[in-house]
């Protein structure tokens, strides 16, 4: 059995958006008992991550860390036409994930207690991002 759905997230610029609830709902509706829930982000400057879901400081620390590791406007970048956050956004995406593959077990998304699913916008301006969800199982 295969089910597929796409939804959009409007971001407000660089930020993490919790999308766990959208994904668990799709799994609940699918009627799949055991299988795989595959998430895919159709963009090259935003990511999908699993992150600790209890303390918001984790995500602000993460953002602070990554923006120091991958500096906007780094002088080695030649791809700068769309601004200082463009090339850094591509690198941030490649160092993290565009796809996530999660287990479905007993009809539920089998996340760990502390795992939340986040869309991470890497551009500083707002963007509309499409997440495609494919559920396969029986």
């Amino acid at each position: 059995m295969v089910a597929q759905e796409t939804f959009s997230i409007q971001t407000r610029g660089r930020e993490t958006v919790n999308i766990t609830h959208q994904i668990t709902s799709l799994v609940d509706q699918s009627g799949i008992h055991s299988g795989i829930c595959q998430l895919f982000l159709r963009h090259t400057s935003a990511s999908l991550i699993l992150c600790e879901n209890a303390d918001p400081d984790v995500r602000s620390d993460l953002e602070r860390y990554l923006s120091r590791l991958v500096k906007d406007g780094d002088s080695i970048f030649q791809h700068t036409m769309e601004g200082p956050d463009d090339m850094s956004a591509h690198i941030r995406t490649i160092l993290t994930h565009s796809d996530l593959s999660l287990p479905i077990s007993n009809g539920r998304l089998a996340l760990g207690t502390w795992q939340g699913i986040y869309l991470w916008e890497h551009r500083t301006h707002p963007h509309n991002r499409q997440v495609m969800v494919t559920l396969i199982g029986e």
Copy 2:
């Protein structure tokens, strides 16, 4: 056909643990000829990686590299309640992988000759880690 199994690994603190044998055994037992073996770690401070499996120096170099890249107790971290290795463990996890998706071919896990599957504990204290394995195919 879908098969699913969860197993636990007791880590001794920060280290890499070879779990290749557990995964190949599950594939062998499943009776699936062609398909996907999806691994999922239900935690936010440990990773699943594919790494060179012959020279243990590779994994000690990797640990040395990553602990320099993501410093325990970095002064930019505000999420510090559980100690200096807590936030760094979350970042190390996001820079690597919580899920791995591997092909099953001719009834076997189709790893390359030098690929081993490792659970990478990022916390300095021992933890019990759950790996969920979902096999889909025919």
Copy 3:
């Protein structure tokens, strides 16, 4: 329905090779309408990435960034027998991806407009790399 195919890419040393066309062709031929296209690279010193596909500067910036982040011949490396690019290649692989899981929708690979699939050779000498493609769906 499961379809599986392996193809080889001969690299000329450290470079990115666009393999999008090979993958979309396999999806087109498979007859699968909805499902997952899973890519797997059977090596520990080359990666699969999704990257912006329009401006080649993105990939040269990416290479410049990563070779500064993970220095060939870093003095902390003990795994050096195969040369200064050996251990750095393993690290570059683990910081990026050996597997990619992509959605198939309406019989086509559902990449975003700007997403290309690239094999990223991390060794400085030419290598023959095997990509295994597993398509599951209905």
